[in-house]
């Protein structure tokens, strides 16, 4: 879809992935920041499924949740609790007519600007291929 600029809601955890995002910004990495809208939470485990559903309802084309790598979570297991919700969330989205590629969970460590740039780049490319979907 030429000219379509997907809007992605990004949930970043205060200790790791938010730092990763800043690192990417500081490090001059190439990534589609214009398509991203960042929300800071203390832990990826804080992302309430209602946030994801609401994001899609009001027009997001994709939702990206980035947490600490396993073992690095400042709250020990918050990132694992977030990961455990994803497959079920994907199936609920699918049954609501939303392709499960539109939601993604990944680990980004504090200084890892490079991975942050790669993951967000991949997501935008995928959503451009998928195109917009009307949000009822």
């Amino acid at each position: 879809m030429h000219g379509f600029e997907p809007k992605i809601i990004l949930f970043l955890c205060n200790w790791c992935s938010y730092e990763g995002a800043d690192a990417a910004g500081r490090g001059g990495k190439e990534f589609p920041s214009r398509n991203l809208r960042e929300i800071r939470v203390m832990c990826s485990g804080r992302v309430d499924p209602r946030f994801v559903l609401e994001a899609f309802r009001i027009g997001a084309d994709g939702v990206l949740i980035l947490g600490c790598a396993p073992g690095d979570c400042h709250y020990k297991t918050g990132n694992i609790e977030a990961l455990k919700r994803i497959p079920l969330l994907e199936r609920i989205l699918q049954q609501n007519g939303i392709k499960n590629d539109r939601i993604r969970f990944d680990f980004v460590s504090a200084g890892d600007g490079e991975k942050f740039a790669r993951v967000t780049g991949e997501m935008v490319k995928l959503l451009k291929r998928l195109g917009p979907f009307d949000h009822a």
Binding site: K7, I9, N14, Y18, E19, A21, D22, A24, G25, R26, G28, K29, F31, S33, R34, L36, R37, E38, I39, R40, V41, M42, C43, G45, R46, V47, D48, P49, R50, F51, E54, A55, I58, G59, A60, H74, Y75, K76, T77, G78, E81, A82
Partner: protein, 651 residues
């Protein structure tokens, strides 16, 4: 009362000013509801920037502040302090990161301006729903829990206990003193172990700021530095520790003899006993497994015979919750079990014993009252001491425990004193004699005691077999030749390993273990007595193999670290952004309890609702995201505020 929101866009020198259309941003910001003031500034984080902000807040009586600039990870705390100084609750602030996550990345000016506008709109929406949060403080608890009453634990306890800093010293055995109490003499000066430690044990037992809890183990630990809640479980002793003076009247009448397999011999003790004579606290205890009362028989001989009425059959196991500021792990070491390696023949032939068992032999309070005897009761004519059993091999422990050479020399010296005529040999591949007095001690033993040293090619090039009427040792000497010798007693210097319960204790304390199974130091070089978890320290062999002086030194070091961190009466700030459960909505479904990694959520005993211990909660909000009733609110990251930010971002 409508909100009065002030929006400040930091130019950050050129960084933001040149990347976005400032006027456009300022204008957009003015249109949002409740926004009463929109201004930009060169460097808000500079001293005059902060002063400018403070004055503005006061002059315009702002109720909320949005700062669009660099990452909150840079200056959020700085600007919270500014709000505080301006008399506004520091949490009524939201920062829009339009530098790292916008200006520095988006080349196209119009795109950067658009995104900055969205981030600001999100921040305004969110700040509208921020609630003021108080930073509550609690009395930081300066008390200390020391786990393990060996020489390390005792040193820590004595060093740290004082008027307003109580120490709970818990020990899983019935008596304190640990390994050292079981020794006869200590190298290098053959000082009598009990004389050395006696005074300290006495000081511990009568110290009014130290509470000793024997037969006690940790069950659960919650909280953090200055604020730990530790559940400890004390097994029943069935004897009143105040009343019993250890006179032993009950031992004779007890009909049950419990065999204590030692050296193949049958030293035994009664069902009611004191572990060894001279044990402290000098109080008896009843062995629940073997006492007839616990097998349904109504035997009460000891009750009748006790002149002090100290017997308590009805005593039960008790769990107590100790509130402490720090925990010190001094749980000591375990020994390598030679049966794991068939080459040492341990358990296959009589009179092959470990050095700890040899230590019991020479111990005057031991089963043989200090006499070195074979299982047939006669003194040995030829003794072999074998070094590095289970040490310095990839198969078992690849490290050197650093103390066995010295205590084996001590054992050889003790043997020589008792058995002037006996042949005494040492099988070793190297000798580890660290420390300023070790060499002197080695030369003394070599010269005076006529000890024969057989050097082996490698630590494990040795075979110990049951010979005809004696024990046959075959070893490979440094030339690679096999040599055979016969002995009637062999003492194995086994490696020091981490204690068998270390893994369990690590799980309870939630601290990591190193690859060799000992507790992992926070920093091996600079901070050897701290674990990876703040507030949990360690001392002695729990941290790794070492000799007694080093264990004592680590005990004192841990005490020093604690005193540096925990001053009694000092206020300890609690996490302000905690979660809270609304009792009107909570159904008691218990889902949140399993989600809290800090065990901060518990079911109140009498009420059906569940509540969050504000002092334990770290504010991660994982429970708030999972509560099926939506009954948990997360401070500063409330569901409403995040929904509002989300809608703001999407426009």
């Amino acid at each position: 009362m409508p909100q009065r929101i002030g929006v400040y866009i930091c130019e950050c020198g050129p960084n933001i000013k040149d990347a976005v259309d400032m006027d456009n941003l300022l204008e957009d910001a003015r249109e949002h509801k409740d926004v009463v003031l929109v201004r930009s500034f060169g460097f808000l984080c500079s001293p005059d920037g902060k002063e400018f902000l403070k004055k503005d807040i006061q002059a315009h009586k702002l109720s909320r502040v949005v700062i669009a600039g660099c990452s909150p990870k840079e200056n959020e705390q700085t600007f919270r302090d500014v709000l505080k100084n301006a008399g506004l609750n520091p949490f009524l602030l939201q920062i829009a990161n339009i530098r790292e996550q916008c200006a520095w990345v988006i080349q196209e000016k119009s795109d950067a301006t658009e995104k900055a506008g969205e981030l600001i709109r999100g921040a305004i929406n969110r700040v509208r729903l921020h609630e003021p949060l108080e930073i509550k403080t609690i009395e930081c608890c300066a008390d200390v829990l020391v786990v393990g009453a060996g020489v390390a634990g005792i040193s820590t306890a004595l060093a740290v206990a004082r008027k307003n800093r109580k120490v709970y010293l818990i020990e899983k055995e019935p008596c304190i003193g640990g390994r050292v109490a079981g020794h006869e003499d200590l190298y290098p000066d053959m000082v009598c172990a009990s004389c050395l430690i006696e005074s300290q044990l006495d000081a511990i037992l009568h110290h009014n700021d130290i509470e000793v809890l024997t037969l006690t183990e940790m069950v659960e630990v919650r909280g953090y530095l200055g604020n730990f809640m530790v559940n400890v479980r004390q097994k029943a002793r069935f004897v009143d520790m105040e009343a019993c003076i250890g006179c032993g009247a009950c031992f004779e009448v007890c009909p049950v003899t419990v065999p204590m397999p030692f050296m193949g011999g049958m030293a035994g003790r009664k069902a009611i006993y004191i572990p060894y004579s001279g044990a402290l606290p000098n109080v008896a205890l009843i062995d629940g497994e073997n006492c007839l009362r616990f097998q349904g028989e109504l035997c009460h001989f000891c009750l009748e015979s006790c002149p002090f009425g100290a017997i308590r059959y009805e005593e039960t196991e008790r769990v107590r919750v100790l509130k402490v500021g720090a925990v010190v792990v001094a749980t000591g070491f375990g020994s390598f079990d030679p049966q794991k390696d068939v080459r040492y023949g341990y358990g296959k032939a009589e009179n092959i014993i470990t050095s700890l068992e040899f230590e019991q032999l020479v111990n005057s309070n031991g089963p043989t009252e200090g006499k070195i005897l074979l299982t047939n009761g006669r003194p040995p004519r030829n003794i072999a001491f074998v070094h590095c059993v289970g040490s310095r091999t990839e198969k078992f422990n690849d490290y050197c425990s650093g103390v066995c050479c010295l205590y084996t020399l001590k054992h050889a010296h003790q043997a020589r004193l008792q058995l002037p005529e006996a042949g005494i040999c040492q099988f070793h591949s190297d000798l580890c004699l660290p420390g300023k007095d070790a060499q002197r001690f080695y030369r003394k033993v070599l010269k005076e005691d006529g000890i024969e040293f057989f050097r082996m090619l490698r630590p494990d090039t040795i075979e110990i077999r049951k010979g005809t009427g004696s024990i046959l040792i075959t070893h490979t000497d440094t030339q690679g030749e096999l040599e055979r010798n016969e002995f009637d007693m062999v003492v194995l210097a086994t490696a020091m390993e981490s204690g068998v319960e270390t893994e369990g204790i690590a799980g309870i304390l939630d601290v990591k273990l190193g690859e060799n199974g000992f507790f992992q130091e926070a920093d091996a070089g600079l901070d050897p007595v701290s674990t990876v978890r703040e507030g949990i320290f360690m001392a002695g062999c729990a941290q790794g193999p070492k000799d007694i002086p080093s264990s004592v030194a680590q005990g004192h070091a841990a005490a020093g670290r604690i005193m540096g961190k925990l001053a009694p009466g000092e206020p300890l700030a609690l996490e302000p952004m905690v979660c809270e459960i609304d009792p009107e909505i909570c159904s008691g479904c218990l889902v949140c309890i399993s989600l809290c990694a800090f065990k901060a959520i518990a079911l109140e005993d009498d009420e059906p609702e569940v509540s969050i211990n504000q002092a334990m909660c770290r504010g991660c909000g994982v429970c708030a995201a999972a509560c099926p009733s939506g009954a948990i609110s997360a401070g500063h990251f409330s569901t409403g505020a995040i929904f509002s930010e989300l809608r703001g971002l999407m426009g």
